[in-house]
């Protein structure tokens, strides 16, 4: 569904991407991890068409988003939902007006239908009762929930999450991840979640990709990452390896093993170091 092909990008002489390639199949969600400042959010904005690569292509269902303009770009973006790191709620509007905004501006639905839809979405994210509050009057977690409601109200096929749990306490962060998972079960979107918190996100994604040194350094399932011997992957995973053993999908019973996730590599993590050495390591 999303194809990122060999993109290169630099800012003020600093090379951020040196040939990033990634694919997200329809109906799957990928977690994009990496060190702070490595370009995860920049990659997400390339998928959304907010930034254009200097070289390479980004395609959504075969259509190139970087070169799209006017109605073609509008049509592509109509299929996208984006959860910004800070929420990006319109701060002069209430939560109700924020969530209703895409419906009012892009559809011909009646006020009554819009109201019903908005109240339903706000209830889905657990913010009933806060409809008429302003973003400055609510907590960070509530801002993220409201922003999630706004991005989902148009039923997007593709969702992009830019660090949805950054800045939140562990309990609130976990509730946001559970909410994303519940929305995914309901709407069945494809998507990318940019995050530092791999342990929290691992149970709800199908694959993980690690961005490092301007390329996709490693890609595979959560289990692959956990078991990887690649030094960079191990350094990033660090103390989280124990957490990953403990993480369960929301709703799973105690004692059950982690739900097996699909792995195209048959259980072997694809990393830059294995590719360069031409050695297929048993992970």
């Amino acid at each position: 569904m999303i194809q990122i092909e060999n993109i290169h990008k630099s800012f003020d002489g600093h090379q951020v991407f040196r040939g990033v390639s990634l694919g997200i199949a329809k109906g799957t969600v990928l977690a994009l991890i990496g060190r702070s400042g490595c370009g995860k959010s920049v990659l997400l904005k390339h998928v959304a068409g907010l930034i254009k690569p200097e070289k390479g292509r980004v395609r959504v269902d075969g259509e190139e988003i970087a070169g799209a303009r006017g109605k073609a770009l509008t049509a592509l973006r109509a299929r996208l939902g984006f959860l910004f790191q800070g929420g990006a709620l319109f701060d002069s509007m209430t939560l109700f007006e924020n969530v209703a905004f895409p419906l009012r501006e892009k559809t011909r639905l009646s006020d009554r239908l819009i109201q019903e839809r908005v109240f339903q979405e706000i209830e889905n994210v657990g913010l009933s009762g806060s409809e008429y509050k302003y973003p400055s009057q609510i907590s960070g977690g509530m801002v993220k929930r409201a922003a999630l409601a706004r991005s989902l109200v148009s039923d997007p096929e593709i969702m992009l999450f830019d660090e949805p749990t950054t800045g939140l306490d562990p309990v609130t962060g976990q509730s946001i991840i559970e909410l994303i998972d519940a929305c995914r079960q309901r709407i069945h979107f494809s998507g990318i979640i940019v995050t530092h918190e791999i342990a929290r996100v691992a149970p709800v994604v199908d694959r993980i990709a690690m961005l490092h040194d301007g390329v996709i350094w490693a890609e595979g399932t959560a289990s692959d990452f956990y078991a990887s011997e690649d030094p960079m992957v191990k350094a990033f995973m660090g103390e989280r390896t124990n957490d990953m053993h403990q993480m369960q999908r929301p709703g799973e019973q105690e004692g059950e093993t982690e739900r097996p996730l699909s792995s195209e590599t048959g259980g072997r993590l694809t990393t830059q170091s294995t590719q360069r050495g031409g050695i297929n390591e048993e992970i």
Partner: protein, 260 residues
Amino acid sequence: MFGIIRKFGASTIETIWKMGTMGLFLMRAAVLMAIPPIKFGRVLKQIRFIGLQSVVVIFLTGAFSGMVLGFQGFYSLSRFGSDAFLGPMVGLALIKELGPVISALMVTGRAGSAIAAEIGIMRMSEQIDALELMGLSPYRYLVVPNFLAAMISLPLLTAIFDVVGIFGGYLIGGKLLGVGAGTYFGEMAGYVAMSDIMEGIYKSFSFGVIIAWVCCFKGYYAGVFSGFGSEGVSRATTQAVVLSSVLILVWDYFMTSILY
């Protein structure tokens, strides 16, 4: 030596790039103003903000500007025995020059700075990106309404300034310094022509374009040209007010020489 030349060259290129970006910004706004849909709700909201909420400050500055003109004009003209021409002097000065310029400077300080700050904060908090990703044009929502509102509000505010200023001049010249009402208003009617009034309107209309153009541009590109974060927004706001004010005065000179 070469380092200095290189820096000067880079600085010149950057300045030209900024000017070009600013020019393209104006062109894009002009094109979108001519092509529907226009967000009339936003336009009305901005007319209320730029126009209606500036009436008090325009009233006060107009009144005191007229009163000062009345004083200074009377004492200057009376040296030549021409104090009977106080009315035309106050009327022409306000209608052709002081009304449009001072009104525009007041609106720049009050509304222009707020527009630059609002759009700048929206840029920093990714609200403009959110608009784009919804498939909506930030220009139609943020820029075009401000342009239309400023172009409508400035001539009206200038008219209020002129009327209040003229009566302020009469308050001093007539009631305090003894120039008769018939002399004051009668001579004014004889010397102020429709062309003078239209000159003031053309000026105020173009000043509205300048205020909207500079303040929207500075806010829209706050993260690019002014730095990041709250400091970037404050720098963008300051630059917007300063550049608007300077451009208003420069453009006033060119308009005066063209319309003279």
